[in-house]
Amino acid sequence: MKLFQYHRPTDTQSALDLFQKNEGAQYIAGATNLLDLMKKDIVAPDHLIDISRLPLNSIQNGPLGVTIGALALNSDVAMHQIITQQYPLVAQALLAGASPQLRNMATVGGNILQRTRCPYFYDIAMPCNKRQPGSGCGAKEGFNRMSAIFGASDSCVAVHPSDLCVALAALDATITVKSAKQERIIDFKDFHRLPGNTPEKDNILEKGELITSITIPKNNFTKFHNYMKVRDRASYAFALVSVAVAFEIKDSVILDARIALGGVAHKPWRAYEAEAYLKGKSDSENSFKAAAALVVKEAKPLTHNAFKVKMAEQTVLAAMLAIFN
């Protein structure tokens, strides 16, 4: 690991200023991802700005919905009464990720910003356009069992690893970010990006911008929702496929539906077409089956991950059926 300078500001403005002042700076919070990346020589910041002391960890209900500070710990969010009672899908997704020890360290902001777990990204002896633009994509023609089936490009087939983000995508969350110049609010669906020719950019955050909070709008999904994650072992593994589904239903008619998937694309993947299809339909197995088929209609699998297409379809269906069983 390269030597670096460590800063520990206690207010947000100082953190933003420190970033401006120091070339090669990077924010650090729970460090559950960044430390790995530093140990493996994937990133080598000259300055680490530890933001964990900033007052950004509150969880509060407001007129629009719940606002969660970027530094709230995954474990605290998962257990918070507002979340468990009004946004249980978020709690469910959080608890499907990592281990209790990691959730005790990991922050919501960091979770949104975590890098892919594609093994080519993690081995500096292998090509990876995301790590080293222009070096090629090792996974595309190599081992791609864990890779994307949606939205991939010739330069990158990596997937976003978060569980939490799948739920946030489904619930149309917004992300508040701050820079020295301004504060702006970004729709969750626009925050992460598809790889295209610039897979080194995971999201649209600009240099020096800091996530300060996320807001999840009020919804009527508390009754009918589910997060289902399929992985190679029972716990503590990244998703092969994960699914967040949420419904608003009245008299067996679906008024609103949300479907988002994890482990299948460079970003949390919303299945808009399937959602649209379900609106106005009855909450029957046939509706769910048809919707699940629509989810994977555009899937483009690689050599080793064709199973994800069927797995995604069946997991969407299973996640929906399980709500009503």
Binding site: Y122, D123, M126, M228, R231, A234, S235, L240
Partner: protein
């Protein structure tokens, strides 16, 4: 053999448990030494070729760096200088002695610095260019290039009419594969080397065969055995990976010699996948023919195992097929396929773990084609004697294992039809399999010292890689001598202790336990001799069998007046301690009987109907490992093996990028082993009947037996649950949707 059967088998806590959980026990990489510096290995980034240029200048300039060692500047070791010598002495990779690259990740440089972090950073600055040569890494597509093994101790078998299976009315003829697995003990490998001049080498090295390692090092360095000391006192798991000298050990020895100070080289987790061995992938074919009432007529078992291009590693994949079932007609065949990987090594139940997966899955398939209960099929084909040479078993309680495990599991309630049971969104299935492992015994020596206060020290150069050897030996000594456990200390893990086999092949209790048992008798005898000499009448006619030790005293059964303290006895001879050293080995029984441990495994699985996820929900193992010395550690050992079986069945697989000839996902995020949530309550039952011939305690080995057949039992349960037969491990969700 005079079978004394006095070991109680009671559950006993680990004698070193407190030290281990409180951190008092120092593992290899934790041992503090003055003047110690740290070495970090740099691995090659190509699979095959030669080093063209290695640029260490940036690394050498980095803070704290003392030296960067490569093939260009390395001190040359006798054994590694010539490839012929290295091969002859079985030294493996000629680290820093050649510019040839033979596998990806091969150590090409060692960066030594004052601090570990400095060495790690500087290691990232070493640049190397290569002249690449084509590599071959795809096991599945090169099976036709497999060649017969040159191993002297493995043989192919032909018994009776080898075509008999194909003419039988009921048959199975299927292909199975098992992937490359990696040991991944919790504690990573590490070596610290300390030279005193050029004449004396001490290494602290994570291994579980201190004297084998010492012997290899002595040969490699052209030193006498007495000039090399190997210490490995506490070990955080090994599973076979600590049975040979690996490149990082030579690297530490070279660096310490060049720098004339102690050097520690620890392997990182990703390096554990390339530098310290693994279980080779196999491709197997099993063909079994049977009569309509389920009697096996013939078996054919062919296997191909992966090895490296610079060494041959061979293991007994078909061994279990030669002995498990009565079968007059048999053919087994084993080949090796050299690929551009590092060399494999023994991994728990080597050969048998993978061989039994194929055999016991095929047996389940045969049971279905016969419409016969798979337990009945096993009982029907029980071998009364060893089928190869008709030698009687020393003991074989396989049938009892089947009966006891089946009863505990409630096997009778099972509906045999696949897909006949479900619970909400899950298919539910049950399956079983059996296993066997040779019960061996090697000569072992123990030394004992009893002091006048009644403290007993016993020493032997064995290892405790986790099974609880220290505890078991103290227990055997206590039961054999009568001295309470709290007054006995067992010292192991040092090569200058009395000779003992390495910990592998499930031989430790049978071998070292025998030595401990015998040395306790010997100590008793010495006390008796003193008593006869110095106490006159009371002890004159006393027989050793009637002599007992209790509370620091010796006495004769039924003669309370005979009680005499150790202190009084020793004082009479003007000594302060009684000392003895003795070697124990098997007698002529060794050649007369076939020695094996046996086990039966029963598993219940849930398979998700939509996602293909598999959960093992119940597991019962009944094991015949002779008399059990300590129920607690023995049960733990079987449970641990079953956990490995769950890993083998459901998730463990090392992936390779064939384009680059480089492992992918070789870390704990990519290589999955079971977590708590994958492991159900494992019920372990022991037959607990003494083997009359292997040793005086009646114990057979149990290190491997818990794994053999475990994966097949789970796979068979998956078939019962889903109707889908997965013949290629691991059974990941994608194979079931």
């Amino acid at each position: 053999m005079n079978h004394t059967n006095t070991i109680s088998g009671d559950s006993t806590d680990r004698v070193d448990g407190r030290d281990k959980v409180t951190g008092t026990a120092k593992y290899t990489a934790e041992i503090p030494l003055p003047n110690l510096v740290y070495g970090v290995l740099v691995g090659s980034t190509i699979a095959k070729g030669v080093i063209k240029k290695i640029d260490t200048s940036a690394a050498e300039k980095a803070a704290g760096v003392i030296s960067v060692i490569t093939h260009k500047n390395s001190t040359k070791l006798f054994g590694l200088k010539k490839s012929k010598t290295a091969k002859k002495l079985d030294l493996g990779l000629r680290v820093f002695h050649s510019k040839d690259i033979v596998f990806n990740g091969q150590p090409i440089a060692l960066v030594v610095a004052d601090r570990l972090e400095q060495a790690q950073y500087a290691a990232s600055l070493v640049k190397c260019t290569y002249e690449q040569a084509p590599h071959t890494t795809d096991f599945g597509t090169h099976l036709d290039q497999a060649r017969p093994s040159s191993s002297k101790w493995l043989s192919d078998t032909k018994r009776g009419d080898v075509t008999a299976w194909s003419n039988a009315p009921f048959k199975v003829d299927q292909a199975y594969t098992t992937p490359q697995e990696v040991h991944n003990p919790m504690e990573m490998h590490s070596t610290t080397a300390i030279w005193e001049g050029d004449e004396k080498l001490t290494v602290y090295d994570k291994n579980h065969a201190v004297q084998d390692i010492r012997d290899t090092l002595a040969k490699a360095l052209k030193l006498e055995k007495e000039q090399v000391v190997v210490n490995s006192e506490f070990i955080g798991g090994g599973f076979g990976s600590g049975l040979r000298v690996w490149p990082h050990t030579f690297a530490a020895i070279i660096a310490a010699k060049m720098l004339k100070r102690p050097v520690k080289v620890s392997v990182t987790r990703p390096q554990m996948f390339t530098m310290t061995g693994y279980r080779p992938a196999t491709a197997q074919k099993v063909s079994i023919g049977a009569t309509k009432d389920g009697k096996i007529v013939g078996i054919k078992h062919e296997a191909i195992g992966q090895t490296s291009e610079y060494e041959e590693f061979a293991e007994s994949v078909t061994g279990i097929t030669k002995m498990l079932y009565a079968c007059p007609n048999l053919e087994t065949n084993y080949k090796v396929l050299p690929l551009t990987y590092s060399t494999p090594i023994w991994m728990r139940a080597p050969g048998e773990a993978t061989g039994s997966f194929a055999l016991e899955t095929a047996m389940d398939e045969l049971a279905y084609s016969l419409n016969m209960d798979p337990v009945q099929l096993r009982k029907k084909n029980y071998a009364e004697t060893h089928p190869d040479d008709n030698k009687p078993w020393s003991s074989n309680h396989l049938t009892e294992c089947l009966i006891k495990a089946a009863r505990q599991f409630d096997w009778e309630a099972r509906k045999p039809e696949p897909r006949s049971s479900s619970d909400r969104d899950w298919w539910v299935g049950t399956g079983m399999a059996v296993g066997s492992w040779g019960a061996w015994r090697a000569p072992a020596t123990a030394r004992a010292v009893l002091d006048s206060k009644g403290n007993l020290l016993i020493q032997s150069a064995t290892s405790d890689m986790g099974p609880g050897t220290s505890t078991t030996m103290v227990k055997i000594a206590s039961d054999a001598s009568g001295i309470p456990m709290g007054k006995i200390r067992f010292e192991l893990g040092k090569s200058n202790l009395p000779p003992s086999p390495g910990q592998g092949g499930s031989v430790t209790v049978a071998s070292v336990g025998s030595a401990v048992y015998d040395i306790c008798t010997e100590i008793k005898q010495k006390l008796l001799d003193i008593a006869v000499e110095t106490l006159g009448e009371t002890y004159k006619e006393a027989k050793i069998e009637d002599v007992f030790l209790i509370n620091g005293k010796m006495g004769i059964k039924g003669k309370p007046a005979s009680l005499v303290t150790f202190a009084d006895l020793m004082e009479k001879k003007n000594i302060t301690e009684v000392e003895a050293t003795k070697t124990s080995s098997s007698g002529e029984e060794g050649g007369k009987y076939a020695f094996y441990s046996f086990g039966a495994h029963f598993a219940e699985v849930y398979v998700h109907k939509y996602t293909g996820a598999v959960r093992v929900t119940r597991f019962v193992s009944c094991v015949d490992a002779g008399r059990i010395m300590n129920n607690k550690t023995a049960s733990s050992q079987i449970s641990g093996a079953v956990v490995m079986g769950i890993g083998m069945a459901l998730m463990e697989e090392q992936h390779m990028d064939h384009q680059h000839g480089r492992l992918v996902a070789n870390d704990f995020a990519g290589y999955h082993i079971p977590v708590q949530a994958d492991v159900p309550n494992i019920e372990v039952i022991f037959v607990d009947k003494a083997d009359p011939y292997l040793n005086k305690m009646g114990a057979k080995g149990l290190g491997e037996i818990g794994l053999i057949g475990a994966a097949a039992a789970i796979g068979n349960a998956v078939f019962h649950a889903t109707g889908k037969r997965v013949r290629n491990l691991p059974i990941t969700p994608d194979k079931l949707i």
